[in-house]
């Protein structure tokens, strides 16, 4: 039922398949991510990158296979010796391990930056307000947004909103953080303020991170491993210096040279 052993991966996709009607988006995906690892996902549009993250966040149901988080099944639950699809209740208990940041931030517009961060700790974790505020302020400090804590999202720039969104996700103390193209909606001059925050997380925290990005330089800099997705499959994966420096597969080579030309 559970994955066990010395080196249980933090996240494990086992033969996961996802389709929309006749369109198969992910085909028998097998992917293990170790605790503390930073894995980047790159690949052409429509290759299924976002879908991988959304399945892990339980925003999408999977068609077959099992996803494990911290050794325990996420998409399924044990019932009389078998794994059956998870109930809402099981999902709620397992989802606490995962946090996600979105391309378009999705901050709650009717709450200030601080309230956005406190919402989960107070409402979901049941922390006393003072403790939730303390935790949220520390995180806003970490992402450099403490001076704007009482502003509503409509008063913040894209880069500032994304940093608040990162703090909001971290306030839930997830074991795994997911980033889906968190800089794609930003003006070029503010991308750095968000990537610097993520860089900080890599060095400061023992977080497991899974990041979809179109910024090859950034992925190369900070990842422990890079996965190149093509047509719903991992076409090639490896250490960034190998994958970017000496790609083995033709499709990887084509993709990387097309990306370089576009820059």
């Amino acid at each position: 039922m559970e994955l066990s052993g010395e080196n249980t991966p933090m996240v494990s996709f086992r033969k996961v398949r996802k389709s929309y009607g006749a369109l198969t988006v992910l085909d028998d995906l097998d992917l293990d991510i170790n605790a503390g690892e930073m894995v980047s996902i790159i690949g052409p549009s429509g290759s299924g990158k976002t879908t991988v993250l959304r399945m892990l966040m339980t925003l999408e149901q999977i068609n077959s296979g099992v996803i494990y988080v911290d050794g325990k099944p996420l998409t399924h639950m044990p019932k009389s010796g078998k794994l059956v699809p998870a109930s809402e209740r099981h999902l709620r208990s397992r989802r606490a391990d995962i946090g996600m940041c979105f391309q378009h931030f999705n901050l709650f517009p009717h709450m200030t930056a601080l309230e956005n961060c406190m919402e989960g700790p107070v409402q979901v974790l049941g922390l006393p307000k003072a403790e939730a505020r303390d935790r949220s302020e520390k995180l806003l400090e970490l992402v450099g947004m403490i001076a704007k804590k009482d502003q509503h999202p409509s008063r913040l720039s894209g880069g500032q909103q994304q940093r608040v969104a990162i703090a909001r996700a971290l306030a839930m103390r997830p074991k795994v953080m997911l980033f889906d193209e968190v800089t794609s909606a930003l003006d070029p001059e503010v991308i750095g303020e968000v990537t610097n925050v993520i860089r900080g997380l890599v060095s400061e925290h023992n977080l497991t991170m899974l990041m979809v990005t179109h910024q090859m330089g950034f992925a190369r800099d900070i990842s422990d491993r890079v996965c190149f997705f093509y047509g719903g499959k991992i076409e090639e994966q490896g250490h960034p210096s190998e994958l970017f420096g000496n790609p083995q597969r033709e499709r990887t080579q084509q993709f990387l040279s097309a990306v370089r030309e576009a820059v």
């Binding site: 966040m57 979105f102 517009p109 009717h110 409402q123 979901v124 409509s154 839930m172």
Partner: protein, 221 residues
Amino acid sequence: MNIFDFVIQYWPRLLAGTGMTVAQFFLAAVLGVAIALLMGLMKLSSNKLLRGSAVTYIEIFRGTSLLVQLYWIFFVLPLFGLSIDKFTAGYVAVGMNIGAYGAELVRGGILSVPKGQWEAALAINMSPAQRMRRIILPQALVNMLPPWGNLMIELLKGTALVSLISVADLMFETKQINGSTFLSAQAFGAALIIYYVLARFMVTPFMRWLEAYMARKMGRA
């Protein structure tokens, strides 16, 4: 007799009628908002029975005349052993009718909240009820306030029908005065002005204030 002399002479009855109209309006509004919220949420439910009940309710109350609904509640229900006094029958009929229209506004308001808001709320592990109550409804409310303003004006006008089951509202008093004095122009002229003043200088400003207040809470102002 000019309209000023008319008002000076009949103001106690006009005032009593206006008071009754305001009371009917207020109670019908509270009931209507509650029904709208309930039916709007039920119509979005994944449960077929709840959804079916909401659709049926909305169809019946939007598809038939308010006057007929009022007569049903006041004259027909007693035949089935459910007697309601005229005051209650009045605002209940108007409130149930407005609730059916409001349900569509609630549904539309909820659907107008971007999908990303549901997803962000799920990503911090909120329960479905918390997502609705804490994240979606407050935003839906802001989006649906302007059409609610129109509906409230309709509601005010709709309360005039309760005079037909002898609730002593402004319309009822006006007709009584007209019946005994035959000062039709003055009587209905005064009623016209009072309804207009209630709508224009009470309902509309209140809704505007509510919109501004909500906008401030959203950090938009």
